[in-house]
């Protein structure tokens, strides 16, 4: 390089002659520097070359075997070459390029390429361009440097934008990992003071536990190297999963243990037994010794079972179940299950090896089968206990009270219908009797309240009943009469109730009687209601007997009528409760007074009319006015007293476009000013704040309240989150580039810190080094 440059320089000098020499003052300096450089570099190269050459020669001679006589070489610098002996002969002469080229032609060392270039140079007559002056060069340099720096700095763009957009920034930006630190880290900053501490340190040192920066022991380091982060993660995930599963199973076991349901445990036991059998079968194949042990255990259990009466359906529970089994499917099942269990337990386990035993077992099995048949139960009625699995059920048990009730209702609905079948009747009667008992009791309780009223009624009813009895002819009815009379005797206190209850079936026989009974009932109920409602007011008592009498006298009274009467009673009551209105009236009067007072006080100003006027005025102001552009005297005569024609005026007046409808046009009590008022303007937002895209968005955010009154605490906290959080007493360091901007490419020439295995791979070193490199960097991050 230097050579060629100097050559160029000389050539240019050659061509430009002295003019150039005079012009470039500072060029000389450059030249001198160049020359020095050349000499230095040449010297060095020369020495190097010589040495190499010598070595080569020696090597060749050694190879030849025959020792050549060494040539005598001058190692001293010759007199001509020495810089101290340069003669100044040719100082005035110019050195031409051709002079230099001559030597080039002879020497074969210079490449043809350079020769060609030099020849071209010789031929060209153009001058080289002047080098830029210092100022301009510097300017360009500066521009380049500035651009470079600007580009470099621009890498912060994203982070700065992100920080500006962030809803909250917490300083210092780099958070120390919270939680316990590693012991080594703590220890590293601390020095021992007491002998004990010293001892501990010595122990640590013996274990080659480094206390300073690389805080890992060699063993730990090795382990870290051995397992990459990914592997570690996978392993950790596995462990986690295992732990989760374990805890899950534990929880499950706990839950199952806590279950109290007997059925559940029953099923579970059954299941486990099945499992056990399966396992056992497997065990026989794989581990016969253990299987034998198991077998013994089973045998023991069988013996115990045979000795005991545990599953023989003879216990207290079984007996109770046997009773229930009549009605209950589940009880039946439970019993059968128990028997089955007995069977299972007492069955001998078949050992596949010996057949004889099996036969015997089969024989023995039949016995328990037999034994396990349902035992003769004392309850003869129960077919289940007799082993008859008939689904027939006795009719008696079938008829439930509900059915009866429904039937009764039906009867009520079809009052005209006559019932022929006595059988059915009887059933109904029976059922009714059962049904009645509680109601009677109820009535007993209720009676004392309405005793006075009832007496007449009771007498009458009894008469009716007796009449009825006389009329009845049929056997069945007579039978029943006996029963009913018995009841009336037994329960003197509530005969009416029995009548009421009895009425239902009797209805079928005689409509009227039935009706009457019903009336009575209603009557009673009514009375009760009345009692409740009217009791506090003694005046009412008069009406009560009246109604009672009325009802008594009416032969087939109407339901509706009764209802109406009830309503009447109620309305009467309602009219009575008018008393509390009195004070309100007084209040109204007071209110009126107040109004009148206010009116008196503000007699002068009529606010409402003022408001209306105001509104009208505003409306009128807001209406755009017509603009009259007629010029008097333009196009016709003008002067005092002369008005432009109507036609013209009409033509030149501009009619305004009607304004948009006012916002308050439908609100008579409100004025919404359409004009922008100066007073409020100072409080209004002129510009849409940053990051809002439209007005609606902004308005909606402004409108939502942020206070605690309208929001939950968490929402309030979120809405009023401060933009910047700093911690008192912590130094906030300037942002650090390495934490935020990561270079994606590794700098060239950087060797990996750790390599796989000890030896370098002969192939691609990059490939072999990639993985460990990544690992090491990650580890660094972690430790950071």
């Amino acid at each position: 390089m230097a050579k060629s440059r100097s050559l160029k320089k000389t050539s240019s000098k050659d061509v430009k002659l002295s003019s150039v020499m005079s012009a470039v003052g500072d060029d000389e300096d450059d030249l001198s520097i160049d020359e020095q450089a050349i000499s230095a570099s040449e010297d060095e190269e020369g020495n190097d070359d010589e040495r190499k050459h010598k070595k080569l020669l020696e090597a060749i001679s050694a190879m030849g075997g025959r020792k050549r006589k060494k040539q005598n070489e001058r190692s001293e610098a010759s007199v001509e070459v020495s810089e101290f002996f340069v003669n100044a002969e040719g100082t005035g002469d110019k050195v031409n390029l051709s002079d230099l080229l001559k030597t080039m032609d002879n020497s074969s060392a210079a490449s043809s390429n350079t020769k060609k270039q030099l020849k071209n140079l010789q031929n060209t007559k153009q001058t080289l361009e002047l080098p830029l002056n210092k100022q301009q060069a510097e300017k360009i340099q500066r521009a380049i440097a500035y651009e470079k720096t600007a580009k470099e700095v621009s890498s912060w763009d994203d982070i700065i934008k992100q920080n500006r957009k962030a809803e909250q920034i917490v300083f210092p930006l780099k958070h120390e990992p919270s939680g316990p630190k590693r012991v080594e880290e703590v220890v590293a900053r601390w020095k021992f003071q007491t002998p004990l501490e010293q001892e501990i340190f010595s122990v640590l040192h013996r274990n080659r536990q480094p206390t300073n920066d690389p805080v890992l022991t060699p063993a730990e380091d090795a382990s870290l190297k051995a397992m990459s982060l990914e592997e570690a993660k996978i392993r950790r995930a596995e462990l986690q999963k295992a732990r989760v599963l374990q805890s899950y199973f534990e929880a499950k076991a706990k839950r199952e243990k806590a279950i109290k349901s007997k059925t559940y445990h029953k099923f579970k036991k059954k299941d486990s037994r099945k499992c056990f059998v399966k396992d056992f079968e497997e065990m026989v194949k794989t581990n016969p010794e253990e299987a034998l042990d198991e077998l013994k255990k089973i045998e023991l259990a069988r013996m115990k079972e045979r000795m005991s009466l545990k599953h023989q359906n003879s216990g207290k529970w079984a007996k109770s179940k046997a009773i229930m089994a009549k009605y209950d499917d589940s009880a039946r099942k439970a019993m059968q299950e128990q028997l089955q269990m007995n069977k299972d337990l007492t069955r001998k386990i078949a050992v596949p090896s010996d057949d004889e035993h099996e036969n015997i077992e089969d024989a023995s099995e039949t016995v328990p089968d037999f034994a396990n048949d349902p035992e003769p139960v004392t309850d003869a009625v129960n077919p289940w206990m007799r082993g008859q699995l008939t689904h027939e059920k006795p009719k008696v048990s079938r008829v439930t009270t509900e059915d009866v009730q429904t039937a009764q209702e039906e009867n009520e609905n079809e009052e005209e219908e006559l019932l022929g079948e006595f059988e059915k009747k009887r059933k109904l009667w029976q059922a009714d009797e059962e049904d009645l008992i509680p109601t009677e009791e109820e009535s007993k309780r209720e009676e004392p309240a309405s005793e006075v009223v009832e007496e007449d009624v009771l007498d009458k009813e009894e008469d009716v009943v007796s009449d009825e009895e006389a009329e009845d002819i049929s056997e069945f009815s007579s039978l029943f009469r006996l029963m009913s009379s018995k009841k009336t005797i037994q329960k003197k206190k509530g005969p009416s109730q029995t009548q009421e209850g009895l009425n239902a079936p009797r209805r079928d026989d005689e409509e009227e009687l039935l009706n009457e009974g019903e009336i009575r009932v209603r009557n009673l109920e009514d009375l009760e209601v009345l009692d409740e409602v009217v009791e506090p007011q003694p005046i009412r008592k008069q009406s009560l007997p009246e109604t009672a009498v009325e009802k008594d006298t009416s032969e087939p009274p109407n339901k509706k009528k009764r209802e109406i009467s009830l309503q009447e009673v109620l309305t009467k009551e309602a009219t009575v409760v008018k008393v509390p209105f009195l004070p309100t009236v007084v209040e109204e009067e007071e209110h009126g007074e107040q109004i009148s007072l206010i009116k008196e006080a503000f007699a002068g100003d009529d606010v409402i009319s003022d408001f209306i006027k105001d509104k009208k005025k505003q409306e009128a102001d807001a209406m755009p006015k017509e603009v009259d552009l007629t010029l008097p005297g333009w196009g016709d005569w003008g002067g005092v007293g002369l008005q432009p024609s109507h036609k013209k005026r009409k033509r030149f007046t501009i009619k305004p476009t009607p304004p948009p409808p006012r916002q308050d046009r439908k609100l008579p009590d409100v004025i919404i000013p359409e004009k922008r008022s100066v007073l409020t303007a100072s409080h209004q937002v002129i510009q849409l704040p940053f990051f809002f895209e439209n007005v609606e968005q902004f308005e909606s955010t402004i409108r939502t309240p942020i206070g605690q009154t309208w929001n939950t605490p968490s929402v309030v906290r979120k809405l009023t989150k401060p933009k910047v959080i700093t911690k008192l007493g912590t130094i906030i360091e300037p942002i650090v580039k390495e934490d935020f901007i990561h270079k994606t490419t590794t700098p060239a020439g950087e060797r990996p810190e750790i390599t796989l295995g000890g030896n370098e791979c002969s192939g691609d070193p990059e490939l072999s080094s990639k993985k460990p490199l990544r690992r090491s960097r990650k580890r660094k991050n972690n430790t950071n």
């Binding site: 510097e138 340099q141 500066r142 440097a145 500035y146 720096t149 600007a150 470099e152 700095v153 621009s154 912060w156 700065i160 920080n163 920034i169 300083f171 930006l173 409108r703 309240p705 942020i706 206070g707 009154t709 309208w710 929001n711 939950t712 933009k723 910047v724 700093t726 911690k727 008192l728 007493g729 912590t730 130094i731 906030i732 360091e733 300037p734 942002i735 650090v736 580039k737």
Partner: protein
């Protein structure tokens, strides 16, 4: 049979710990809480008023200097330590919680022009009118031992400003040229000059630590890169800038305090126009310093006030002054962003709260 009983989830009414506040069930039905706009407006107004009522920004005054304060710097590692240089060549080390002067050093003859502490906080540098750069140990010498600098460099010209690199052992001074020094060498490793004959301030970029900017007396601000041999670019303003400060969180922004009463924030990539002009001072602005959060900066002015500006607002959020405070020469924001320190002509260093109404407890 199913029996219905009252059952409540204990999570609804039982506190997790006894220290928790009691849960107060609330009905958020908007009909029960009308007039939210009006009520919130009142609340906001009250809050603002209360903020002003409780605004007591002045914390303490540190007196002890016998001449006007010319420069302040904060310790890089200790929040409670502050260093200040005065016009009589004295440097004092202060302890803020105790409000005491820990140490006094007669550092220079004439003004102490600049002071900066090393990034590790073990030593600090001062420059003075006696053309020297001195490095001092941060720890006071033992009793009876004379105060002597660790290192002293005798310069050819007077130095007017100094700043230390955030991460490397280099520092920059300015005077007739901007010089970059290695701590180990007695001659600058690089010297920049670009037309101007003197500079008043030089500051390293705390983020991109190779960058630095300086204010020149020819009304220009010049940017440099220590890796380059020549300066990067220059902005010429209408009036001279006294000081400048880089944003510690946003690498390419810096703010300069100008003689024309304004502060200008520039993006170093687009120097044609300032990003924003901060107006409010009524006299020349003498010093500026960014909050370590980079959200705000504080400026000191010849009009005897200090003002706090949000970095992106044209007007100040706060103005601090007292009757006795004269021209404020220098101002610094504390490293935890809670306090502001100002040094003024009348020999006092004042400690202010950055948020006037914030309750901070003992300093």
């Amino acid at each position: 049979m199913k029996v219905k009983v009252l059952s409540r989830n204990p999570d609804d009414y039982v506190r997790e710990t006894t220290r928790d506040i009691q849960r107060v069930p609330r009905n958020y039905d908007p009909t029960l809480h009308p007039f939210e706009v009006a009520r919130e407006y009142t609340r906001a107004l009250n809050a603002t008023k209360l903020e002003k009522v409780f605004a007591k920004p002045f914390v303490a005054a540190l007196d002890g200097h016998r001449d006007g304060i010319s420069c302040i710097t904060k310790h890089n590692k200790s929040l409670s330590t502050v260093l200040s240089g005065a016009c009589d060549g004295e440097v004092k080390v202060w302890n803020l919680p105790k409000r005491q002067c820990l140490r006094t050093v007669q550092a220079h003859e004439g003004f102490v022009r600049g002071i900066c502490s090393r990034f590790c906080g073990t030593s600090f540098f001062t420059i003075g009118d006696d053309k020297t750069i001195k490095q001092w140990n941060m720890e006071a010498p033992e009793y009876g031992v004379r105060e002597e600098p660790l290192n002293m460099i005798l310069g050819k010209t007077v130095f007017t400003g100094i700043d230390h690199n955030q991460r490397q052992a280099t520092f920059a001074t300015c005077g007739q040229s901007v010089d970059i020094w290695d701590e180990q060498r007695s001659s600058p490793i690089r010297s920049f000059s670009w037309g101007a004959d003197s500079f008043s301030c030089v500051r390293f970029n705390p983020v991109e630590t190779d960058l630095l900017a300086s204010c020149a007396s020819d009304r220009s601000i010049v940017l440099y890169d220590t890796r380059e041999s020549a300066p990067l670019r220059k902005v010429v303003m209408r009036l001279r800038s006294n000081t400048l400060c880089w944003n510690p969180m946003e690498a390419y922004y810096f703010t300069c305090a100008n003689e024309d009463y304004n502060l200008y924030t520039y993006d170093m990539r687009y120097l044609d126009l300032p990003v924003i002009v901060h107006k409010d001072h009524v006299s020349a602005v003498l010093d500026v310093d960014y909050s370590p959060t980079g959200q705000e900066f504080v400026s000191a002015s010849f009009d005897r006030t200090i003002r706090i500006f949000p970095k992106d607002k044209g007007h100040s959020r706060e103005v601090y002054h007292t009757k006795r405070m004269q021209h404020v020469i220098c101002v610094r924001w504390s490293a935890d962003s809670k306090y502001v320190l100002s040094g003024s002509d009348e020999m006092n260093i004042r400690l202010w709260k950055a948020n006037a109404s914030e309750k901070l407890g003992l300093v």
